[in-house]
């Protein structure tokens, strides 16, 4: 008994009698813990020969219900010939084939069965057949398989659950990423561009196709270019009235109307139907199919969702939906994501519109506060306005140079006490009133008289001073001008002639609104070479010196001026007096040019000039004019290039900046240097390939003609350019 000694621990095995052992395999097969069935295969037909009791427990089928039948009958709709064929290949190759299948039990319960299939060796099959001589030859099975079944429903469900959880988590992350990108995109100021990008984010990652319609005097699919060039666009674009569809329209077009009207959040639009002409549904359908003809086949029913603003539906989101059984299906999760996207778009559009409206309002208001400066033949005019650094863009000082009659200039310089919004508002009113009366005509004294009357009636809350005068050519003496003026509590104008500066101190009177007596005027004759200076007290007032000393400083500086052009004289005065102004400064300089233009062009005066202009498109032409004049005064040619460069720089400042544009010109000795300062600290942008974008090529033009750069200055930036020889 050698074997006995090898048993670990020296245990003594108890061996069952042989007749008992012979029964054990059958016992094991019956109670093994998995369902077992023996299958006979012949000519491709599989039949169940025997099943154990566990089979019945697992599958719910009793032995008499299945034995002798094909398993496909009880496997019913889960049966797959292809699947069985591949299992057969496996077992015939001598391997065990395993598969986990869904299974429906006769009691209706859905379970998962793990099936393991093995082939009985051919020799054993022969032994079995030999034991049944009754079975006619040829009827016996060619092969025999053993299949075991176990119920793995619990395991499968756990893993399915896990997989779903992983997928859901991945989807959620994707959706979050998408939402954050949508938010990014929506910060794009151009609504069309933002909506186009949102559509691109949604499709095809979330939905097969997406597009947005802007509701603005009709409906317009963003990004759809219906041949801008062939003139059709305006027709579809500007259709202002959409025909309403009555309820009960068989095409469902009425629902789109309801979505547009904000009465329901969404609707399905069938692209295969003919919708009533000029209805919103037809318009949406037409543009969708123009943009994506394949939609009619790919996704004949699109979902149209309203994008709400605070007051109305601002846009529509149309998107294709995956269909099953001919109806669009949208998971709850996807619907939620789309819902959030739609809300965000609505908010962004609403904000953009509100901002645009407010911006327009503010711009319009501001424009009404901006000075005007015309050019008058035979006069060299220069104007300057700088709000005090510490205060807002608009202060209480103002000037206007108007052409009150053909060839006649009306000049006003005024000052409302204070720097706040109230001062600016009163300034705006006064400016309009003086403008109106100036154009009405009459002497300057009568213009101020009428202004007094009106302001008294308005109960102006602040004191205000002004000087108003007219400059008209003197009849009979070409080149000479007559300056008539009146003053309402304002500092006297200064006349500079041959190095002598005198105050035009006639025509004085009380502050505006306080003139009880009729105002009187003054008069002066200007001859070629004369310069007239009108200003506000900001030019001369300093905390450390009395006003009288300031006036004397002005007279001294004015007498010293060398320049032969108004801008040059202005530059000299600002340099001498107003380099650190404590108050708003407004200055108007009118110069009567000498006959034959500037003498000794390149010698006299400072080699720099500056202009401070409101950020308004008219500043562009003014700047070009300033460059022409200055180049003439400095004897610089190549004016054409300089004009182009200054035009582009100022256009950029006006387009992207705000507040005041300041232009400075310098004669560097070997050419012209141009500086343009605006209030936008962002660097100049170089837009490439924007054929229709304004400013896109401006920088390139400057690039070709000048060395240029920019630097931060004050709260904004200065862009400078030095012209190159071309």
């Amino acid at each position: 008994m050698d074997g006995r000694e090898t048993v670990p621990g020296g245990a003594v095995p108890v061996v069952a009698p042989a007749e008992v052992v012979a029964l054990l395999p059958a016992l094991a097969a019956q109670h093994v813990g998995v369902g077992v069935t023996v299958l006979a295969v012949r000519d491709g037909v599989v039949r169940m020969l025997w099943v154990n009791d566990v089979f019945t427990r697992v599958t719910g089928y009793a032995a008499h219900e299945v034995v002798g039948l094909e398993p496909r009958l009880f496997y019913s709709d889960q049966w797959s010939e292809v699947g069985v064929a591949s299992l057969a290949d496996e077992v015939r190759a001598g391997r065990a084939a395993s598969i986990t299948l869904p299974f429906r039990r006769p009691d209706g319960a859905a379970v998962w069965l793990a099936l393991c299939l093995t082939a009985v060796p051919a020799g054993d099959v022969a032994t079995v057949l030999a034991a049944a001589p009754a079975m006619p030859a040829g009827d016996g099975p060619a092969e025999m398989w053993i299949a075991s079944f176990s119920d793995v429903t619990g395991t499968v469900e756990r893993s399915v659950h896990l997989r779903d959880a992983v997928r859901a988590e991945r989807r959620a992350r994707l959706h979050l990423a998408l939402l954050s990108r949508v938010s990014d995109v929506l910060s794009e100021p151009d609504a069309d561009e933002a909506l186009a990008q949102v559509s691109a984010l949604l499709a095809p990652s979330l939905v097969p196709w997406a597009g947005a319609f802007i509701v603005e005097g009709g409906l317009r699919l963003v990004g759809l270019d219906t041949g801008r060039g062939d003139g059709q666009r305006p027709a579809s674009d500007r259709r202002r009235t959409l025909r309403r569809v009555p309820p009960g329209d068989p095409t469902g077009a009425h629902e789109i109307d309801r979505v547009l009207g904000g009465l329901q959040p969404e609707a399905i639009l069938d692209l295969t139907l003919v919708h009533p002409t000029e209805s919103a549904a037809a318009l949406v359908q037409g543009q969708l199919l123009a943009a994506e003809p394949g939609l009619a086949l790919l996704s004949p029913r699109v979902r149209v969702v309203a994008i709400h603003g605070s007051r109305s539906v601002l846009a529509l989101l149309a998107h294709a939906v995956h269909e099953s059984d001919g109806t669009p299906r949208l998971t709850e999760e996807l619907e939620q994501v789309l819902d959030v996207v739609v809300r965000r778009i609505g908010l962004a559009l609403d904000n953009a519109r509100l901002y645009a409206r407010e911006h327009e309002l503010a711009e319009t208001m501001q424009r009404s506060l901006l000075p005007q400066q015309v050019e008058i033949d035979g006069l060299d005019l220069w104007t300057y306005y700088a709000p005090s650094v510490a205060h807002a863009q608009v202060g209480g000082d103002w000037y206007d140079v108007l052409e009150v009659a053909p060839g006649v200039a009306g000049v006003v310089v005024g000052d409302v006490v204070g720097h706040d919004v109230e001062a600016a508002a009163l300034m705006g009113q006064l400016r309009s009133v003086v403008r109106a009366y100036a154009f009405e005509g009459g002497t300057p004294a009568s213009v101020l008289d009428r202004t007094d009357q009106l302001m008294r009636g308005m109960r102006a809350p602040r004191g205000a001073s002004a000087v108003y005068g007219t400059l008209m050519p003197r009849v009979g003496t070409p080149g000479s001008w007559i300056f008539e003026y009146a003053r309402a509590g304002h500092l006297p104008a200064v006349l500079v002639r041959d190095g002598q500066a005198t105050q035009l101190a006639q025509g004085s009177g009380a502050l505006i609104g306080f003139g009880r007596r009729a105002r009187t005027g003054g008069r002066a004759v200007l001859v070629p070479g004369d310069t007239l200076i009108l200003y506000t007290d900001g030019l001369i007032e300093r905390r450390e010196r009395p006003l009288r000393a300031g006036l004397e400083a002005l007279l001294a500086a004015a007498a010293r001026t060398q320049a032969d052009d108004a801008a040059g004289i202005g530059e000299e005065l600002l340099a001498a007096l107003a380099d650190s102004p404590e108050d708003d400064v407004a200055v108007v300089i009118a110069r009567v040019p000498r006959a034959g233009g500037p003498v000794s062009a390149s010698s006299a005066g400072p080699r720099s000039r500056r202009w401070s202009m409101p950020s308004d498109p008219t500043a562009i032409a003014r700047s070009r004019h300033a460059v022409l004049r200055t180049c003439e005064a400095w004897g610089i040619d190549k004016v054409a290039d300089a004009e182009l460069v200054v035009s582009e720089l100022v256009a950029n400042a006006v387009l992207h900046g705000w507040g005041t544009v300041e232009l400075r010109l310098f004669d560097t000795g070997d050419g012209l240097r141009i500086e343009v300062e605006d209030s936008n600290p962002a660097p100049p942008v170089k837009l490439d390939g924007h054929a229709h974008g304004v400013g896109g090529y401006g920088v390139q033009i400057v690039d070709r003609l000048a060395d240029w750069g920019w630097r931060a200055a004050n709260d904004g930036k200065i862009v400078w350019a030095r012209l190159r020889a071309r």
Partner: protein, 143 residues
Amino acid sequence: MPTSQRARTVGTLVARPSGTSHHPYDDEGQAPMIQIATSPATTTLTITGDLDLAERDQFPEITARVVGLRRQLLVLDMCGVTFMDSTGAAFLISLADAGRRRGGATVLRGCDERDLFVLEVCGALDLFRIDTDHACARDDASA
């Protein structure tokens, strides 16, 4: 175009800046006036004044009108243009581009050297046929 086949003016539209306030600064270049004249095959745009940002508001409307006329040839008469920068060039380009999409051509006449330079920088010279032979009736436009 041969002068014998001079386009008969069948209609003239005068476009003036709309919505822009009084132009205070128009001594040398005026707010541009743009005249549109049509013949069966040609639209002629006669532009006078400055073409810059200040005039941008009226450009889209003029482009729409010219496009709506659907003529094969568009002639841009620039003799009276006192100044043009990249904004003005963008306007001419949009006109020429719209024409080209329909297979039409755009002729540019009376341009000075600086205007051509601006168009060249904008990469747009090939959009136009430059009429160098055109003798301008007016002389005041030459800067």
